[in-house]
């Protein structure tokens, strides 16, 4: 599956500056259609209204965390195949293993750079 840069990407983070950073980085690597959500529940609502080709989510958010969002997405028949990358400051091995078990496609530890983001997106889409 090749990366389709025209697909819609949903960025989920409760820190507006981080959303802005990811949005800019995505723009630099060719993604223009980028939506945002401030937590898991808002993201879930948006995902049920619009089809996203990729979700990039933070872990630590209120009221619904990125980890809970991931489990909701993987438990939902219509959404379960959506590629999901966790971008987070949660760098304990237990977090990475739990996210992997829950079905995350890739995991980026903050702080990160454009190259890391691009390489993980490429890896998710098999490029």
């Amino acid at each position: 599956m090749a990366v389709d840069s025209s697909m819609s990407v949903l960025v989920v983070d409760d820190y507006k500056t981080m959303i802005r950073i990811i949005r800019n980085l995505l723009k630099q690597i060719g993604f223009e259609d980028v939506d945002e959500a401030a937590d898991g529940s808002e993201a879930l609502g948006k995902m049920r209204e619009k089809r996203y080709g990729l979700v990039i989510s933070d872990w630590n958010m209120e009221p619904m965390t990125g980890y809970e969002l991931l489990k909701e997405v993987r438990g939902d028949e219509k959404l379960q195949k959506t590629p999901f990358i966790m971008v987070t400051a949660e760098s304990k091995t237990e977090n990475v293993i739990a996210a992997k078990k829950a079905g995350v496609n890739n995991y980026i530890v903050k702080p990160f750079n454009a190259q890391t983001l691009k390489s993980k997106i490429d890896a998710v889409f098999g490029d």
Partner: protein, 212 residues
């Protein structure tokens, strides 16, 4: 030397045996009462001294505690130091956010700039780079603010440590409110560990290894 109960009992028994009577007379009863009274007086005297010592110990402990609580300066910590540290941290968050936004605005303007006119483009880039340098000066101020907070924490740490030693404090369970307990459980359940200090978490290379 104070008489034990056994010695008192033996004295009474010895007195009765010495008189060789099964039915004690009034004199015997008075003698017994005197022995019993003497032994009780001794007992009460001993008990008074012990209770006195205990009470004096408790009073000394209370005086020491009052002194230590005074040295702890709880009101200074609650009314002055913690609120000031909170304000400093708020200011750090605010100035960091402002600086980040300024830097990002400059970068976005450079990326979106029209490159068809090299002179105008170079002028804009120079201007925006200068603004980025200016925005980076926040680091000096935030560094100073964070140092003040660290100093406050060190002061509190020293005072709490002294109080713990003075009262030989032991932690007890069940002091968290229901809301605090729920937050703690949620953090544990959802693994909300937050950013780790160096060596506390794994880096991107180790994360990648787990995905191979």
């Amino acid at each position: 030397m104070p008489q034990t109960r056994r010695q008192t009992y033996d004295s009474i028994l010895g007195h009765l045996r010495a008189n060789g009577k099964n039915d004690p007379s009034l004199g015997d009863v008075v003698a017994l009462a005197r022995i019993a009274s003497e032994s009780m007086q001794q007992f009460i005297h001993n008990m008074d001294a012990a209770v006195n010592r205990e009470l004096r110990g408790i009073a000394d402990y209370i005086v020491t505690m009052k002194q230590e609580i005074g040295v702890f300066q709880a009101n200074d910590i609650k009314d002055s130091r913690i609120p000031a540290a909170g304000q400093e941290l708020d200011a750090v968050v605010q100035s960091t956010e402002q600086a980040t936004n300024s830097i990002m605005e400059c970068a976005e303007e450079i990326l979106a700039a029209d490159t068809s006119n090299p002179e105008a483009y170079q002028s804009l880039v120079n201007d925006k780079v200068m603004q980025i340098f200016e925005a980076c000066s926040f680091q000096d101020l935030t560094g100073q603010r964070v140092s003040k907070v660290v100093e406050t924490l060190q002061t509190i740490e020293k005072r709490v440590g002294r109080l713990i030693d003075a009262v030989n404090a032991k932690d007890i369970d069940g002091v968290l409110s229901m809301a605090e307990e729920q937050r703690k459980k949620r953090k544990e359940m959802l693994m909300l560990n937050g950013p780790q200090l160096e060596g506390g978490g794994i880096d991107q290379t180790s994360v990648d290894e787990l995905f191979k």
